[in-house]
Symmetry: C2
Subunit: 343 residues, 2 copies
Amino acid sequence: NVSLCMEYRIALLPGDGIGPEIVANSKKILSKLVENYALNLQITEVEAGDSALAKYGDPLPKQTLDIINKSHIILKGPVGESAMDVVVKLRQMYDMYANIRPAKSLPNVPNKYGNVDILIVRENTEDLYKGFEFMLSDDTSIGIKVITKKASERIVKVALKYALERNKKITCVHKANVMRITDGLFSRVCKEILKGSEVKFEEMYVDAAAANLVRDPSRFDVIVTTNVYGDILSDEAAQIAGSLGLAPSANIGDSKALFEPVHGAAFDIAGKNIANPTAFLLSVSMMLDYIYSLSKEIKYKHASNALQNAIYEVYKEGKTLTPDIGGSAKLTDFIDAIYSKIA
Amino acid sequence: NVSLCMEYRIALLPGDGIGPEIVANSKKILSKLVENYALNLQITEVEAGDSALAKYGDPLPKQTLDIINKSHIILKGPVGESAMDVVVKLRQMYDMYANIRPAKSLPNVPNKYGNVDILIVRENTEDLYKGFEFMLSDDTSIGIKVITKKASERIVKVALKYALERNKKITCVHKANVMRITDGLFSRVCKEILKGSEVKFEEMYVDAAAANLVRDPSRFDVIVTTNVYGDILSDEAAQIAGSLGLAPSANIGDSKALFEPVHGAAFDIAGKNIANPTAFLLSVSMMLDYIYSLSKEIKYKHASNALQNAIYEVYKEGKTLTPDIGGSAKLTDFIDAIYSKIA
Ligand SMILES: CC(C)[C@H](C(=O)O)[C@@H](O)C(=O)O
Ligand SMILES: CC(C)[C@H](C(=O)O)[C@@H](O)C(=O)O
């Protein structure tokens, strides 16, 4: 099997704020996984974000894009104010159309809702994120929301794939009562693809979905939606599950994928060794799982599970948690705790 | 003073589903207020919504619009699937540009967040609600988001007015990091109007706002935002405060205003005498307060307060609550309880 000796090239973007210290410390964990599971990863660190903008006049400098072009995968830390020019640009440039956002509770994280486990599947390439915006006069601006059949179909198919591996239930979120043409198209595609499939599916207006997440998150399993609604609902759902600061994400296309924490650069706590690397590490776990799905080499699945289990165990013990969730551990203590639990 | 004998003409739209029974029973309370406070209201009931659509082929038939044209105020119950063609149309037709949505906790309503008291000021006439949408081909649809300086300015001024009467704090919600032109214009207007004013103001991206409402609603006082984000966040905030089913709202323009519950027609419980009229009655209280602001006749303020106090007292007693919030009272019992408390 040729994939057995396949090497996966990863462009690693530490980003801004707390990004560099999270990434620097997480390398210790990545190295242990590589060693224990004989993973074949070639990691190249590159600059992007506010710091790259300051240094090179471009948040995504050419030398960074050159490395990314030659990589299979992008693994990135949080980026500051230039996030739009980094992450939205990369999503569109490489057509990474599926933004996969688990909102899943961790043990010992204060939570009003019990054990939440929702998967948000967000369309990642179109809607108002296309950037088609204009001033028509000094007083009037317009932005163009683009919804296509093709992009709607492929994202609903991704949601269907995940739903079949979970509880076979999908909520399609849109606002087709108002945006009858654009969201109407999305709604029609949902029905076409999901009716007659093995999953139970319902449609819900985005305002009702925002309220229902608060009222009873357990009614949701997989949510599929367009880009702007997905941006809003995934932050809300992550907080419902416990904390936006703990949420990982995957941006997956047919030829490239990007893994990143949902949280921002948190400049106010940068450099203090108190940042929480959980969202980044869970993103690494999603990345390893993705490599498994590409390669079918079970060792990547094992490594992904080992990392996830180590994280869960540290939370379950509750002794080495960072200040954002009520603990007093340093970033480095937390990393050491996870390191020691990796089987 | 000429306004002392001014009569306020109200077009009353019972709507669909639970609307007619809520409105029919609430009349008893309105009559008592009219009598106790010598209010000068002339109320005309008209048809609108799904039932009007079925009967006349139009959810807003001409005879209804004729009455509305001659009225100062529209008081409406919830409308079914034709809501867009009723309420969004009326908002735009009469330029009722300020959608005022209190998210305020009531006693004895199960609530994870303590006493929430947020006022959402939602722009009500533009954004994707203009309805400018097109199919460019079988596969591609677009919708046009319109943001103007004029509409942004007037809504921010409304927010400022409310903030000055409350805790002098405004959060401007947008997504100007992505929608740089449209939301950028809104953000610029917020800064122009609020910098140097008496209020403390902050800007927040809509995804962060959706998470922060869950994390700590007490950090918000007045939120001002564009139409689509306001739709989503106001439903979320109402649920955070206790229940979307209890949220009233006002749609205010320079020459007409519409008052309505935020909730929908709830066809599943219609006709069972168990619907909760709180959101409608709180909307009536907002209407009376609005008439006070027009007329400066203090009796309308007193009537508004009397109704609001009666509602709060019934909730505080907690003996006569409807099933949606864990009670076993009928709609008619609840109405009677409020009726008996009106001073
Ligand atoms: C930083 C921003 C451009 C980005 C987005 O809006 O997609 C972020 O909020 C996210 O959800 O990944
Ligand atoms: C019914 C619908 C058209 C309406 C809206 O989206 O404005 C409703 O959700 C609301 O918030 O009043």
